[in-house]
Symmetry: C2
Subunit: 110 residues, 2 copies
DNA sequence: GAGTTGGTTAGCCATGTGGCTAGGTAATGT
DNA sequence: ACATTACCTAGCCACATGGCTAACCAACTC
């Protein structure tokens, strides 16, 4: 039961990391550029990047001294799917309940 | 930028709590019933319930000595929306890239 | 009214997380 | 060759998180 949703959701639970993801949807970027808008030390920021990468949300390649990071949407789709499923199950249940209520109202034979 | 997505995502990053949500999509339930399938002490489990409730994923009412918990789908929809947006942005970008590649192939005037 | 049930509070503990500094290495610019 | 850039490693610290036990209260049951 403890699948990759664990690491995925906890990865995007952090605002810094969500911001990185948002940036990466506009295309790949080197570490330094990703770091720039965030007011924290580089090593701290690198930890965030590592979390994203081990959770499978990003990949990166190093060329020379520059590491370029890009996004990986597969996990996004998976998480989306889990959320959708739960919401629809609940909403489906509500639908059945209101249908039942309607039936009871009309032919009140229960 | 640090909205309720923070607490939402970190709430569902835990397998126990996701299991509770999954259970609740089949309808409201009292604390004891929710607790039953989980091999942990009640107080520990109550903490999980509290996390879910403060994150706005559930609500609960106490009647007599029984507290009944039910799900709240609004936050689910919001989180879903964030994920969808990010995925689509990225995929849209890919589309534009491949369209560009195609144009370059045909009338190679760049 | 004594016992049981369902939930709650308080407090302890180990581990995880997010921040820092200091110092290092390898590639590139001058 | 020397300096600078871009990133990485190690190690420290404070606080959050997820687990526990013990003890408690309030509501039913008998």
């Amino acid at each position: 039961m403890a699948n990759q949703l664990d690491s995925f959701f906890s990865a995007i639970a952090d605002p810094t990391r969500r911001a990185v993801i948002e940036r990466l949807t506009r295309g790949p970027a080197p570490v330094s550029e990703l770091h720039a808008p965030h007011d924290m030390a580089l090593p701290t920021f690198l930890k965030h990047l590592k979390v994203l990468e081990t959770a499978g949300l990003t990949r990166s390649v190093k060329k020379g001294r520059v590491r370029t990071v890009h996004i990986e949407t597969e996990p996004l789709a998976q998480a989306e799917h889990w959320l959708t499923t739960q919401r629809k199950l609940w909403e489906g249940r509500l639908d059945r309940l209101s249908a039942l209520a309607e039936r009871l109202e009309k032919g009140g034979d229960a």
